[in-house]
Subunit: 653 residues, 2 copies
């Protein structure tokens, strides 16, 4: 420890004494210490950057894991028209891949435009204004909340597929997974780690293996259909195969796209040249996602998989390809489970960070900007954990039920992000050459190809808006109506919080504020019920802050009051005593009446302090044996200006 830290640095500057010291004591060991690890000083904040190979692993979890739930969601919609409609799955998957390409190219532009990280909120805030920004913020919050719930539920479904006897514990498993992820995040997960790379690459390996072997056996003609398939979920009536049904299947399949945007938020994590590295990594990721998605959808059609709540399609595929529940089967299911857990983890990295940005902008409680002992946004992590658990519990860990809400959040944020980018190109196109505009998230200067880029982002916005609309309409009756109620409420909540902080700042502002003249007179009241050591302690305190001290006794019993008067004559140090007879036996009301009378004649520069002798018992439950006068006084007099309530504690030892 250097000399500076050893001693307080003190200086006389600008006319007042000022000292700087460093809190030296390390936080105490406690149960938290054991649970989430030793506290980390602020100086330990990591500055590490990552390359493309690790970057792919870190950011791909969310995107790649979607191959676990996007195909069955698509099949489930088609199943409404009978299993024959499954033949439309692959063509729809091709269309989804095309959309993936559009979105990927769109986001490439975001990465280059926002090298400091360009999430939907930042892009909307800088380009679309306050209200669209808050809509995007709410969409993103829904996205992350549901991502955690969906990924945990889907991971639980994988576990249950491999071990069917766990079926009835699915909800408990999903919530336990969330709890583990919460703990890991409270400890502080180093995102930039080999710990993430290994499971991601294992997943890629095993998934490519099952697809590869599947195609080899398919071409060799030895790939049969799923043995003992799970019962197909009953759909009340067989619907005709309408265009809307195909559109709905397409929308359900687009959940494969969730997570592709994640790299655009995390550009700063990459090694320089970071925009280039991030951009290339994103293209790799999209390419891998496209191959896995198309491969899986194709093979699912070949082997006649049925979407089911009791066995995931990945499990059906793996045991058909590998001919039973072999070690290879288990490794595929395990790989999928782990990538889903990583996907849930993504939400726990992103949500608290978004909440902190919103809180710093004054749209969420300021406390969300504080980093906990492990340098993570603990409050955001815990909030997410609780809400995600409630969602899992409320929807009984059913992925199909959770997906539409989630997808609306995801695609709405896509839409606003792309719209924001389009608006940004428009602004750039209308800037004079050579001029530079500095916004909060990025720097704008004229670029020649702005019109093309505007078209790309515009197309992205259009496509994602259509998908959002299809989700909203197709699932309106089941769950999407919730969004219609929830989103306006959440947006109103964000603005209510913002208004509060803004009003408060104005109210407390020192601009145009004249220093008021100092207080002249300070009256002190002490409510007393009897005279004992605690009373004298309070009386001594009262005299230490003012000479104008009045003891007030609320009398219910005249004999008691007379005794008190006598005792006060012995111990009261000459302080005035006011005895108020209370014919209705109330304590607080007569006292408040007296205080209000005094208040009414209080001059602007006079102060009134109520000093309450407060006995501090050894055990908390002893408080039940005493009336909590100070608490009630504080509560009743909260809104009176110029009154201060002071408890003088008296500890019994």
């Amino acid at each position: 420890m250097d000399k500076q830290n050893e001693d307080d640095i003190s200086s006389h500057r600008e006319g007042f004494l000022h000292l700087t010291r460093i809190a030296r004591r390390k936080p105490k060991r406690s149960w938290r210490y054991w649970l989430i690890g030793r506290p980390l000083p602020s100086a330990d904040a990591p500055e590490q950057t990552i390359g493309k190979a690790i970057g792919l692993a870190v950011f791909a979890g969310d995107a790649l894991s979607s191959v676990a739930y996007a195909p069955p969601e698509m099949l489930l919609v088609l199943a409404a028209a009978g299993t024959a409609a499954f033949s439309y799955a692959f063509p729809i998957a091709l269309a989804i891949t095309a959309l993936l390409a559009i979105v990927t190219i769109s986001y490439q532009q975001t990465i280059y435009a926002y090298p400091g990280g360009g999430g939907a909120y930042i892009v909307s805030r800088d380009n679309l204004g306050e209200i669209p920004a808050q809509i995007a913020a709410v969409a993103l919050q829904i996205d992350y909340l549901l991502l955690a719930a969906v990924a945990a539920s889907s991971a639980a479904a994988q576990i249950v597929s491999a071990y069917p006897f766990l079926l009835s514990y699915r909800v408990a498993i999903a919530i336990s997974l969330i709890a583990v992820i919460v703990l890991a995040n409270l400890r502080g997960v180093k995102e930039s780690g080999i710990a993430f790379a290994i499971p991601t690459y294992i997943f890629m390996l095993t998934t490519f293996l099952v697809i590869g072997v599947g195609f080899i056996r398919y071409f060799m003609g030895t790939l049969g259909v799923v043995p003992n398939p799970p019962p197909i979920e009953v759909i009340n009536t067989t619907q005709p195969l309408t265009f809307f049904l195909i559109l709905k299947a397409f929308a359900s399949g687009t959940t494969a796209l969730t997570g592709v945007e994640s790299i655009s938020n995390g550009v700063t994590a990459f090694k320089e040249p970071r925009t280039r590295n991030a951009g290339i990594t994103m293209i790799w990721m999209s390419a891998i996602l496209a191959i896995l998605f198309l491969g899986i959808v194709y093979l699912l059609g070949v082997i006649g998989t049925v979407p089911s709540e009791t066995e995931t399609v990945i499990s059906q595929l793996a045991r058909t390809v590998f001919g039973g529940r072999s070690i290879l089967y288990l490794s595929v299911v395990a790989g999928t489970t782990i990538i889903l857990i990583l996907a849930a983890n993504t939400a726990f990295a992103a949500f608290p960070r978004l909440a902190a940005i919103l809180a710093a902008d004054g749209f969420l409680p300021r406390q969300l900007t504080f980093r906990g002992s492990r340098l993570v946004y603990s409050r955001g992590i815990i909030t997410l954990g609780i809400i995600a658990s409630l969602l899992v519990f409320g929807f009984r860990a059913r992925v199909t039920a959770l997906i539409p809400i989630w997808a609306i959040g995801v695609f709405l944020s896509f839409t606003f992000s792309q719209l924001g980018m389009a608006r940004r190109w428009w602004k750039i196109g209308h800037l004079p050459q050579g001029e530079e505009v500095r916004e909060r998230g990025s720097v704008l200067h004229y670029e020649s190809g702005w019109a093309t880029k505007l078209l790309v982002n515009g197309l992205g916005a259009l496509c994602t808006a259509v998908v959002t609309a299809v989700f909203a309409v197709a699932n309106f009756r089941e769950v999407a109506w919730m969004i219609l109620i929830l989103m306006p409420l959440m947006i109103a909540g964000l603005f209510a919080i913002h208004r509060h902080y803004r009003d408060l700042a104005q109210n407390l502002s020192l601009e145009h504020y004249g220093q008021p003249p100092p207080s002249r007179r300070h009256r002190v009241l002490i409510p007393i019920s009897t005279v004992h050591q605690g009373t004298l302690e309070a009386l001594d305190y009262a005299f230490s802050i003012s000479d104008d001290v009045t003891a007030v006794h609320i009398s219910i019993d005249a004999d008691e009051a007379e005794k008190l008067r006598h005792k006060w004559s012995l111990w009261g140090k000459g302080a005035r005593l006011v005895v108020i007879e209370s014919p209705y036996r109330a304590f607080l009301e007569p006292f408040l009446e007296y205080v209000n009378e005094l208040c009414a004649i209080l001059q602007p520069n006079e102060r009134l302090t109520i000093v309450v002798p407060q006995f501090i018992p050894r055990h908390w439950w002893h408080n039940l044996l005493h009336t909590q006068t100070a608490f009630w006084l504080r509560f009743m007099l909260l809104n009176k200006r110029g009154i201060v309530i002071t408890e003088v504690p008296y500890q019994v030892h």
Copy 2:
């Protein structure tokens, strides 16, 4: 209003100014006003006394109502040996009547010995010592709690007997009755009222009528057996008719005695000569009780009643005697229902009064001695209402299940009361002639017949002790074991409370207490996060109580700290500023560390006040948007001597 009340009375007396005023404002109208009536001033406490006829009505409810449940409880025990055993019911009833006579004579002596009221607690306290007194207190509390539950359940059973379609609402009916009684008692029931006399005499009239008509029809030979009797409760195996079974039936039947002691508690309510009036009233009451009890038991045997949960024996008796559910039948059942409600009401009169006595002796929270706006012990009434409702709910309003616990409480308190009286005669017998000893509840002087009286009370104690023991043994497995767990816990609780108050009084006592020298130095700390109007308000307050003011800023961000320093130089009025860098981003801990350091060097007569600027928002939920520094500081520094924490509220308008 006379002149004295109009003006404050002020006087200089014994060297200090002292004022007396009367709180003039009447309490505000509120929902309570509507629910329980206008507040009553203390001067309104009733001083009315009652004669024998009204006295009988007021105190007989508890005792006479027992004819509704004592006979079936007895029959239920005998039913275990088959319905043939019912023929033992009348002989057992005769034995119970003998016991009633013994207890009545015993209590006659209590009435004359304790003209100021001699409940089991007071008699035990004055004669047996602290521990027996608290055992008696707990027994009485159990008595009253269960009385309320039993009487309400039994009243509900009567209602359900008359209107069988209400059977499934029995628990709800019983709890509603309790709620009504609670409300009536919160309004303040005038015990000494004609309102009590009318229903009691109606009950006596209708019950005598049913017994009278029953016997006339019996002698005329027209009284048949119960038509359509309810199904007899299934008893698993038919037991042999052992002596223990008869003893158990006897014990169950002694529940007829519950409530006979009530007059001994309420001697003060009678007109002078009050002991004589009370004594005679008690004999009347016991005589009426004996006639009703014997008459009912005899007729029940004649008509072949079966004890049942679905129809009470009173209902069976009335419809057999009156030949169906006529208006006479209904008036008998209604009379019984009302007397049971009055019995429950007895508990609501007695329990809060006992609780207030115990609280005044320091064995229960002091708050129980406060009388509410209607001059009643509201807290005790509400406590009893809640516990009785929970008992009714927990035991599904089944009288048979509640009776044993209750009876143990009742007979245990009988035993201690009689034991105390016996001990009192012993003391009296050993007093020198002419000497007078003044105890808290009564005055002792030598009486010649003390040995006989000792024998009478001793016999009473023995008999009631045997009944207690039979109850405890016979019902041990079902419910009596609860008592064995509950009573020691309750007694320990009473003593824990007592110890607390005693220790506190010793600690706070001014005996041998030297007035400490007044404080010399007063340091003030203001924790600040930023400089705004609220901070300046707090700073002004700090300077109004001391010249030694230090602002403390916990710094997480060096730039912010630098800005603060600059602002402080403009607005800080020269107060010292200490900036504490917090490497672990904690706010409270570094501040507490600093406070602790200052505390360590604090001299006995120095004080440290922490002035916390506290922003008071317009809406309570705004508090969620701010860290509650003052709350946490108060919580953390509660046990530090010499530190006072003051919130200076700053209201935003």
